[in-house]
């Protein structure tokens, strides 16, 4: 079936007309409507899957680079801030213990 152009300009290719039936049995099988319909379906499926793969690839690229720019520095900096906090907590607990120990002596 000829497809109307859809949104985005993606449309299936036109169908070619059926060939004349031959006397040979193999030629008759390959030119039967079932086989030609199967071939057309395979062509359409490969066309659609190529387009889908391309748009998925594009979306993955955009999402990946945007995540790299917006989120990766944020994660790195938040991790450093947390490390700094832990270090300070440790220092505070270390420095906090000796004065009380010396006073209690």
């Amino acid at each position: 079936m000829a497809a109307q152009p859809k949104r985005g300009g993606v449309s299936l290719p036109e169908r070619r007309s059926a060939a004349k039936p031959e006397s040979n049995i193999l030629a008759r099988i390959t030119s039967s409507p079932l086989v030609s319909r199967g071939k057309q379906a395979a062509c359409d499926a490969s066309f659609v899957s190529k387009k889908l793969l391309r748009s998925t690839g594009k979306a993955a690229w955009i999402a990946g680079t945007t995540f790299l720019i917006l989120a990766v520095p944020l994660i790195i900096e938040m991790d450093r801030e947390q490390q700094l906090n832990e270090l300070e907590l440790q220092q505070a607990s270390l420095l906090g213990a000796p004065p009380t120990a010396s006073v209690s002596k």
Partner: protein, 313 residues
């Protein structure tokens, strides 16, 4: 739409603020409203969070203080600069320049001068004549003819209002007035006249701020409508969003961004409705030593800009 409301409406809230003084603490004291921020800084929180100075290439700034008031600055920039072109493609030309600057900073007087190796000279003066009156001037001279410009501003600060008058070359005149209407809300209006292009314009603005958020809106008769909202999520994090609409050229842009101010760094990121994302990181490596990374990716134009720099002093 901007032309329907006459500029006199900004004077009416001034009468309302002179109403009777109330004794109860919950009622707002209309006689003691805080002084509003200057008109050009109306959307400063959103501008600071959403529009960091991204650059492409290498940037190195060195500031040396000679005195308590006087300092010199040396700055090197190497990288491609975009030149405006009529076609959709962006044209970038590699440029490099060195900039020498001198700053004199006093409580009442501030003088800043810069000279660049590509022939430009910038000067800025800010002089506080009295507590309430201050004069600001800035000028830029270039090699190219008809590209030099200068501007003088006179600012008067009242108890709960500010007014400004500005004059620039090319017969540019402007005036603005901002008034605090409640402790949180301030309203402003501005007019300008550009003699060279025979254009005049009118604009209104409003700003509502609390401890946690700032919302500002601006409408101008040049066709620009700009709304912004900044929410302070915690003392380190704030989120900002911005909406700009030009009703003459029917241009719309919306953007959302974050601003993380941590102890060792400041990270700002933003994503746009034009398919453009930017990030700007300033990291404090040592006392007085800052490392800067800037990234800007424009997915629709396929334009990628990355820059790094170092700031000393």
């Amino acid at each position: 739409m901007a032309g329907l409301v006459p500029p006199g409406t900004t004077a009416i809230p001034a009468e309302a603020s002179k109403t009777a003084h109330t004794k109860a603490e919950e009622k707002t004291d209309y006689m003691n409203l805080p002084c509003p921020i200057p008109f050009e800084e109306l959307q400063r929180e959103a501008l600071m969070s959403l529009k960091p100075e991204t650059f492409e290439g290498l940037r190195f700034d060195f500031t040396k203080g000679l005195n308590q008031k006087f300092s010199l600055s040396h700055s090197v920039f190497m990288g491609p600069t975009e030149i405006p072109s009529q076609s959709a493609e962006t044209i970038k030309i590699p440029t490099a320049h060195y900039e020498f600057g001198a700053n004199f900073i006093d409580p009442n007087l501030m003088l800043i001068g810069r000279v660049l190796t590509d022939g430009r000279v910038n000067a800025r003066v800010k002089w506080d004549l009295t507590d309430n009156l201050s004069v600001k001037a800035n000028a830029q001279l270039t090699n190219e003819p008809h590209m030099s410009h200068g501007m003088v501003n006179f600012d008067y600060k009242g108890k709960d209002y500010r007014s400004q008058f500005q004059m620039g070359n090319g017969a540019l005149f402007g005036a603005s007035y901002i008034q605090s209407v409640t402790p949180h809300l301030s309203l402003a209006g501005e007019v300008f006249w550009a003699g060279q292009h025979r254009k005049s314009g009118l604009g209104y603005a409003a700003r509502y701020e609390t401890d946690k958020m700032v919302a500002a809106g601006q409408v101008a008769s040049t066709g620009m409508v700009s709304l912004s909202y900044v929410q302070k999520v915690s003392e380190k994090v704030s989120l900002a969003s911005d909406f700009m609409y030009n009703y003459m050229t029917k241009d719309v842009t919306a953007s959302v961004g974050y601003d993380y101010i941590l102890r060792q760094c400041r990270l700002r990121g933003k994503i746009d409705s034009n398919g453009c994302t930017t990030a700007y990181l300033e990291e404090r490596l040592n006392m007085g030593l800052n490392f800067i990374l800037s990234a800007e990716i424009d997915h629709s134009k396929k334009d990628y800009k990355f820059g790094f720099g170092l700031t000393v002093g």
